[in-house]
């Protein structure tokens, strides 16, 4: 019933009509509520679905390969005639590239956060912050070829013995990619530090540098740590850059100059080949995926917990 008809209707009809209209409105409200709930459920359902698939395939994998072989073996050659299922070379490759990325992103990200939050005047910040965040919008496939075709050749002039595929180039480029994540989140954390703390520090005669490093930074510490961990989790899960530029050779090494393979790059490699579904070789990607998921999920949990803590302090 449209509003115009109910207005024109006599009082008696309105009395009769309005409970049904109200009922209808309530029913509509109910529908909306459910639709919204379903939308929210969708993302949770997807996560649950992914977990179930990962878990089922991983268990099928672990029924054939002992978990100790998988977690502690040092050779990873599942596709070859003499398969070995030790995931450590892939884990090490992932950790190596992520560590290089963090070495690049942490100092640069933190310093730019300090500059943006404590030094830059608002006009400069309005320009620089979005520009920095554009870095996060560059497609990772572009970063991948940037690492392979530009950064690595340049590095080869300086670093003797650097292979065409290596951990160093992609690691540095990945560091550039996660830099805006570090600087943006760290800056948010520093902005959250109450003004009174800074003013107190200035009143005691501290310089801007002393205030930033000794007052604001410690106060925002848990938020900054959360940013770091989130960035690390992003680096560990990053796929395209390492699949393109780091090589496809699982190797247990800390040497950043030679080709390696990360967990994500391995999953890409198998998905592109002709490995038949349902075979043990095929299940390896789910086992690796599960490990990857548990790793990044754990880091995200720690990060969320840290952020929650720092919010409480100044709420």
């Amino acid at each position: 019933m449209s509003p115009s008809t109910s207005l024109r209707a006599s009082p008696s009809t309105r009395l009769r009509a309005s409970p049904s209209a109200r009922l209808r409105a309530r029913r509509f409200e109910f529908l909306i509520e459910w639709a919204l709930f379903l939308c929210a459920l969708l993302s949770i359902g997807t996560t649950a679905g992914i977990l179930v698939v990962l878990a089922v395939e991983t268990f099928a994998f672990l029924r054939e390969v002992p978990i100790t072989d998988f977690l502690f073996g040092t050779e990873w050659t599942p596709l070859f005639a003499t398969p070995r299922f030790g995931v450590l070379p892939l884990v090490m490759g992932t950790v190596l590239v992520s560590a290089i990325a963090m070495v690049v992103a942490l100092p640069a990200g933190l310093l730019s956060a300090i500059y943006l939050s404590e030094y830059a005047n608002p006009r400069v910040r309005r320009v620089i912050k979005p520009v920095l965040e554009i870095l996060a919008g560059v497609p990772t496939v572009v970063y991948g070829y940037f690492a392979l075709l530009f950064v690595t050749p340049v590095l080869q002039r300086v670093v003797p013995g650097l292979a065409g595929f290596n951990a160093l180039g992609p690691g540095i480029v990945m560091g550039i990619m996660i830099l805006p994540l570090v600087s943006s989140l760290s800056e948010d954390a520093m902005q959250g530090v109450p003004r009174g703390l800074r003013e107190g520090s200035f009143a005691l005669g501290a310089t801007r540098m002393q205030t930033s490093l000794r007052v604001v930074l410690p106060a925002a510490f848990s938020g900054i740590t959360a940013a770091f961990i989130l960035a690390a989790s992003r680096a560990i899960g990053e796929t395209m850059i390492v699949a393109i530029a780091a090589g496809q050779q699982p190797r247990l090494t800390w040497n950043p100059l030679v080709p390696i393979e990360t967990m994500t790059a391995y999953i890409v490699q198998v998905s592109l080949g002709d490995t038949p579904q349902g075979t043990l070789e095929y299940r390896t990607i789910f086992a690796v995926g599960m490990l990857l998921f548990l790793g990044t999920f754990g880091l995200n949990l720690v990060s969320a917990w840290l952020r929650g803590r720092y919010r409480e302090e100044y709420a």
């Binding site: 050779e75 050659t77 596709l79 002709d274």
Partner: protein, 331 residues
């Protein structure tokens, strides 16, 4: 790369759907090694027949291509090795008969970086030392392969284990198909191997000769010595000539297409198959090596007679056998 190609094929076939009474396009799938030739042929076919739909060419690898072919999903299957017993059986079960057509030769090239000054030749025995499963984690330096080579790390690149190229290389050097060390950069995408070797002074890799032709300045070919005098003594550099006359052994191989017997009676398929025998210039253009006129003639007769089945009873890669001998053996 592969999903993109399939996607393109889908778009192409979808775009062609407006025609209505046109016959469906010829579907080709299989080896990534054969793909450049098949693609060139399909393109020419499309140009010559504007009223017909251009054949779709997919890349599923030789094995993946046969899977689809033996389910009756494709008309033509590209293969960089002969059909295998398991695949023969699968086709038989599904009632799919096929005609085996040799298409071209391909050489497997051993390549090093242009800055490599020491590896000017290599023997098959040295390749076996380097690539055998036992070498994994042990043969890691150049001087372990040949004492006069430098005491520096060797970095290996090669085709992915799902490719016909890998099957053939291991059969020809290690001696067992599919057996090799696992600690090398293995990729289904040959361009990754080109990039890897071209950017690393200490690298050695194997590649289809066609990819080397396209990257002449970035890679150096290593002549291979098989230690046998009767097919050309000493190290032989791969080239169109040495592959065709059988002196570049054991690393040259024939490439095939398998045409479904059912599709062979369609006029447009006959037209396409005829191009296999007459457009050797396309084969040359994409960097492969054309067959000799006699073999084209023989293959043409086989197709005209609709001879079904394979000349490779035992299946798999056969190293060092010339096509003439095989075709003669078959009938």
């Amino acid at each position: 790369m592969k999903p993109t190609v399939v996607l393109f094929a889908l778009i192409l076939s979808a775009a062609g759907c407006g025609g209505g009474q046109q016959p469906p396009p010829i579907t080709i799938d299989g080896s990534s090694t054969v793909f450049p030739i098949a693609e060139a042929l399909a393109e020419e076919f499309g140009k010559a027949n504007p009223d017909q739909r251009t054949p779709t060419v997919g890349i599923s690898g030789t094995g993946g291509g046969f899977q689809k072919f033996c389910r009756g999903e494709t008309d033509v299957s590209n293969a960089s090795r002969p059909i295998r017993p398991a695949e023969i059986e699968a086709c038989q079960k599904a009632g799919v008969e096929y005609i085996e057509v040799p298409l071209a030769y391909d050489g497997l090239a051993i390549v090093v970086n242009p800055k490599n000054t020491w590896a000017s030749t290599i023997t098959v025995a040295e390749l076996r030392t380097l690539w055998a499963p036992e070498a994994q984690g042990k043969v890691m330096r150049w001087n372990q392969v040949r004492a006069s080579w430098p005491d520096r790390e060797i970095r290996l690149f090669g085709a992915g284990v799902d490719s016909g190229t890998y099957d053939y290389f291991t059969e020809a050097t290690v001696g067992t198909e599919g057996a090799s060390r696992g600690d090398f950069t293995s990729s289904e995408d040959d361009n990754v191997i080109v990039q890897g070797v071209a950017s690393d002074e200490l690298a050695l890799g194997f590649l289809p000769l066609a990819y080397v032709e396209q990257n002449r300045e970035r890679l150096t070919l290593v002549p291979v010595d098989d230690g046998k005098a009767d097919n050309g003594a000493g190290p032989i550099t791969p080239s169109a000539g040495t592959v065709r006359d059988g002196t570049y052994q054991p690393l040259s191989r024939p490439l095939f297409v398998y045409v479904s017997r059912k599709a062979a009676d369609r006029p447009e398929v006959q037209q396409l198959v005829d191009m296999f025998f007459t457009r050797a210039d396309l084969t040359r253009e994409v960097g492969y090596i054309e067959l000799t006129p006699q073999i084209y003639e023989l293959a043409k007769t086989h197709f005209a007679d609709r001879k079904v089945g394979t000349a490779f009873g035992e299946g798999g890669s056969q190293v060092g056998m010339t096509l003439e001998a095989l075709l003669a053996k078959e009938r």
